[in-house]
């Protein structure tokens, strides 16, 4: 059993209460940070710890905080991104249901590191239960003096609002979330200015994912070296919540060290492949990442190692496909998702993705032609020119399908039918 940090208080049937959280040392890091640490020292610890954003982009949290200028205007904001709509990803829901105070504590410390007094948790409608839990526990924390005015007699004010979304994938994009919170149509914004400079209501705003914020109290409590030492690789730091789904026996969320091997996650934690299933491919971090073929079965799962191998860890949401699953069909399904969820702001995405979908649909239907493959590649090449990261993310599964599973695509075209559908 690897060390459990973020899920150590997880129980099979209920959430961890405030009392239980405190018995395990909860809120100690926060009280210490408010009393003894400065903006700078918290940022330094987070930076030394190598805490990278766990929402998909893997940007160092300490570095993001360091871009909030000391003389920047007030009020400043901490926004927790609990929008988690990437297909295959459900770790934030599990974490909120397991131990909500960890997130609250992480937000207060993040607020302390940048002089913010306001926290907002932006949460998707599908997580109404999680939103209710958070509203209730925020109130409990307030009653106990961990939120509100002059927290623990330190003179530091911080409070949290739970903000429900109307439901749209793009709201989870780091800048679109700001427009959503401001009551505007949530199209992304193009930095610069970055949100830490001009974010919510044009004021300094830190946007972080649930898992990243949950790491913060532990880093502050136990130090940067400890956090780094949790990982199995020198490049990694901390643990990672992997949410695994698809053709494995025990889909679910597992907290494992960064740098663990994919094969170990599947075999030792997810119970191995389903009866009769063989591993064909997986998406390592949700649908905006590339298919990893069987040759990557023993891949080392940390941000840097995967990047060096040409892949992205993304959200760490592993979706496993077996030999009986048509990857053209799977990619078609994912592109249909992206077409429906595109915010429609810019042409490469709004026009390009439906075109890719139609080409894939025709290949899947047995109406494909060899020229379609080049056309798909060409269309994917246009997508990095889109306004935000959504479109290149949508291209990732398509490009990797063409690269690693060209045979499967060609078989569809040659046979003029999907080889996985029995006629």
């Amino acid at each position: 059993m690897h060390p459990q940090v973020l899920l150590k208080n997880r129980k099979p049937d209920r959430i961890t209460t405030l009392e239980e959280y405190r018995e395990g040392g909860g809120y100690e890091a926060m009280v210490r940070a408010l009393k003894d640490e400065t903006h700078q020292s918290i940022q330094d610890i987070l930076m030394d710890a190598g805490l990278l954003g766990r929402g998909g982009a893997a940007f160092p949290m300490g570095q993001k905080l360091s871009t909030v200028l000391e003389n920047a205007p007030y009020p400043r904001y901490v926004v927790c991104n609990a929008d988690e709509m990437e297909p295959g990803t459900f770790k934030d829901r599990v974490m909120i249901h397991a131990d909500p105070h960890q997130l609250i504590e992480g937000m207060v410390i993040a607020g302390c590191a940048m002089g913010a007094a306001h926290g907002l948790i932006f949460i998707r409608p599908e997580y109404e239960n999680a939103a209710r839990i958070l509203s209730r526990e925020v109130e409990n924390a307030r009653q106990a003096g961990f939120l509100g005015k002059a927290i623990m007699h330190t003179g530091f004010d911080f409070d949290i609002v739970v903000h429900r979304s109307g439901g749209r994938y793009i709201c989870g994009e780091g800048t679109a979330i700001l427009n959503a919170l401001e009551g505007k149509r949530p199209n992304p914004r193009k930095p610069p200015p970055f949100p830490t400079f001009k974010g919510l209501w044009q004021l300094p705003t830190l946007v972080q994912n649930v898992e990243t914020l949950c790491c913060v109290p532990h880093v502050i409590q136990n130090g940067a070296d400890w956090f780094r030492s949790l990982a199995l690789t020198p490049e990694g730091a901390g643990t990672k919540i992997f949410s695994i789904s698809g053709r494995v026996r025990r889909p679910g969320c597992y907290e494992l060290p960064m740098g663990i091997k994919l094969s170990e996650i599947i075999e030792d934690y997810a119970g191995g492949m389903c009866e009769g299933s063989e591993f064909k491919a997986c998406l390592p971090g949700g649908t905006s990442t590339q298919f990893m073929p069987a040759s990557m079965y023993h891949a080392v799962m940390d941000f840097k190692s995967l990047e060096d191998a040409g892949y992205r860890l993304g959200t760490g949401a592993i979706i496993v496909f077996d030999q009986n699953t048509c990857l053209v069909g799977a990619t078609l399904n994912m592109i249909a998702f992206f077409v429906r969820e595109s915010c429609g702001w810019c042409t490469p995405c709004r026009e390009g993705l439906p075109y890719i979908r139609d080409l894939l649909q025709r290949i899947e239907n047995g109406q494909g032609e060899p020229a379609f493959v080049d056309r798909l590649k060409e269309m994917c090449d246009h997508l990095p020119r889109a306004y935000c990261a959504f479109a290149p993310g949508a291209a990732a599964p398509v490009e990797s399908l063409l690269e690693h599973f060209a045979d499967e695509v060609n078989e569809h075209i040659e046979k003029k039918a999907c080889p996985f559908k029995s006629s």
């Binding site: 749209r168 505007k184 149509r185 998702f337």
Partner: protein, 157 residues
Amino acid sequence: MLPSAVKTELERRIAEADHPKELVVDVMMACQAAYGYLSDEAVAIAAGMLDMTPLEIEELATFYNYIYREPVGRYVIHICDSVVCWMEGYIPLRDYLCQTLGIEMGETTPDGRFTLLPACCLGYCDRAPAMMVNKRVYGFLTPEKIDAIIDELSSEE
């Protein structure tokens, strides 16, 4: 008409907010709950309360997945069609639901009880295939389970 208790509560929250527009989704949702969907009248009310134009409300209403600009049934069934559910049998389940309810995707049963809509990943992929009814999620779906859920909802009144 918006029930006066709902209106008063919204007005209180708006008055207290630093930035009233932050509440626009909550206001639309509350109006939607009162009218059953975001009717034209509800759009006008939401706009009036937040000092926005009806067009601004319309822009948002048509953007969000859970704001309905047309009438829906008492129970809105969102069936997940994203990739994990797809792999675990979304298509036969969707067909089964359509057949059981006697409607196509996007339609409402004639008795006004059920509306059937597709949804993106509900975040319950570990329990795929999944669907959500009025913000309650059901996982590991099978035809038998769907029958039981529909029966239970039909008898709840």
